[in-house]
């Protein structure tokens, strides 16, 4: 159904049930939907399964969710960072389950979830501890591992601009996990720095078509650097 534009991150987030699977975009600081995760912290859902490349930094909202014991499991490629002390503590205490996934397999499993592909054979991880117990097969001479699709109840994504139809463009390397996560969740909530009228994004340059977007919120804090080049719409010649 058509995307709705909301006035606050909390309203855009809506209700998240206890036990929900929540995808959170971002790679390092780029593309983190900071305010949406803060809204989730405020909203109160617990027993969550989080799918995210990282596992929180310092005292940010994801780190706090973990500290508060509201994340039962995290599906993640790089949880360990210099300032991931809340995750580290929970992991060492055995109070959080970690499914460690190579970054490309994580992205491809999410894409599969959004694309209706149930599972796929990939060479990544073959012969390593992260493929232990998984089905393997040699295809065209290459040994591969079977990896299954990941879907979520909600995806939290940061994009650069939306139009009124929910079409999204991203900015530079902040694009990262947003476009695949947006496809793989029952409900996709997006924070942007600008909402344009329907038709204001060139149809050739749309990265995430509006069909994947349910809720949009414009946040000043999402605004990128002053003077930064726009993500789409620059003359090409």
């Amino acid at each position: 159904m058509t995307a709705q534009v909301y006035g606050t991150a909390r309203e855009a987030l809506g209700d998240i049930a206890d036990g929900a699977i929540v995808m959170i975009g971002g790679f390092g600081p780029a593309g983190q939907p900071v305010e949406l995760v803060e809204a989730l912290l405020e909203q109160g859902a617990a027993d969550l399964v989080v799918v995210s490349n990282n596992a929180g930094n310092g005292e940010d909202a994801l780190a706090r969710l973990i500290q508060l014991g509201r994340v039962r499991k995290i599906v993640c490629s790089f949880p360990r960072q210099v300032d991931s002390w809340h995750f580290d503590a929970a992991y060492r205490a055995g109070s959080i389950e970690l499914e460690l996934v190579p970054q490309g397999n994580l992205a491809e499993r999410i894409r599969a979830g959004g694309a209706g592909i149930g599972a796929f054979f990939t060479p990544t991880g073959y012969g390593t501890p992260l493929a232990e117990g998984k089905e393997t097969r040699v295809l065209d001479g290459v040994p591969m591992v079977l990896e299954t699709a990941i879907r979520a109840d909600v995806a939290l994504v940061k994009a650069y601009r939306a139009d009124g139809a929910g079409n999204l463009v991203y900015r530079r390397t902040a694009r990262n996990f947003g476009p695949v996560m947006a496809t793989a969740a029952t409900r996709t909530v997006v924070q942007v720095s600008e909402v344009l009228p329907v038709g204001a994004i060139d149809p050739e340059t749309v990265v995430t078509p509006g069909i994947y977007v349910d809720s949009v919120v414009r946040l000043d804090s999402t605004t990128t650097l002053a003077g930064a080049r726009p993500a789409a719409g620059r003359a090409t010649s």
Binding site: T2, G114, G116, I117, A165, E204, P209
Partner: protein, 222 residues
């Protein structure tokens, strides 16, 4: 648990309008080649319904004015179309991911046969000397959240197209949930065929015509 019954068999336009009436505002819809394309003319203005064409466009508009055709802006039937504000283009893998991943709310397809269980046959006449072709039929059949069929209830030779078991090569198994025809709207699925509405025929006459026992649907609406 009652069915409505119009006095008259529906013509194509009335069938298309009947299909359109079941599509919720704001839906993303794919209309198959042939009869289903007529549904576009009956979608209410301002309903916010967005059309997908699997060759790579979301936000498809009507045919262009004569002389304004663009050979690079066509639908899945290779007919020139237009783009509406808010449209987006994508490649074939992304387009079928959109379909297969369950993101299209409703897909309306034509059919040679539909079974009471919801099996669909719409890609092959089964003729041994025919050159086969499938296109996107199998992807469309299983991909949408809800797949419905729009067809005449009888073939040109008078044989029923709603059947106990498809005899033609299948397009998809148990994928159809409702069939819109000139003589009736009929729900199909694991519970068998159940009549929603009839047009110019009684429930009993419909059963005779099809040689099928038909239930009544619980509700005529989604």
């Amino acid at each position: 648990m009652t069915t409505t019954s119009a006095a008259q068999r529906l013509d194509k336009a009335a069938m298309a309008a009947r299909v359109a009436a079941d599509i919720a505002p704001g839906s993303y819809v794919n209309l198959g080649i042939g009869l289903p394309t007529l549904v576009a003319d009956h979608l209410p203005v301002g309903s916010g319904i967005t059309l997908h064409t699997e060759n790579g466009l979301l936000g498809m508009g009507p045919s262009p004015a004569p002389g304004r055709e663009d050979p690079e802006l066509i639908n899945a039937g290779k007919i020139p179309v237009t783009e509406l504000p808010g449209a987006s283009y994508f490649h074939q893998a992304d387009s079928f991911a959109m379909m297969r991943g369950g993101h299209i709310d409703v897909c309306v397809l034509g059919a040679f046969q539909v079974s009471a269980r919801g099996d669909l046959a719409n890609w092959s006449t089964g003729s041994p000397d025919a050159v086969p072709a499938v296109g996107g039929a199998m992807d469309l059949a299983v991909g949408a959240r809800r797949t419905v069929v729009m067809m005449t209830l009888l073939a040109k030779d008078g044989t029923p197209k709603l059947v106990a078991d498809c005899t033609l090569p299948l397009t998809g198994m148990g994928c159809v949930s409702r069939v819109y025809t000139d003589l009736a709207v009929i729900d199909v699925g694991p519970g068998g065929a159940r009549v929603v509405e009839t047009y110019g025929v009684t429930h009993a006459a419909l059963e005779d015509l099809l040689g099928l026992e038909l239930g009544l649907t619980d509700t005529g609406e989604d």
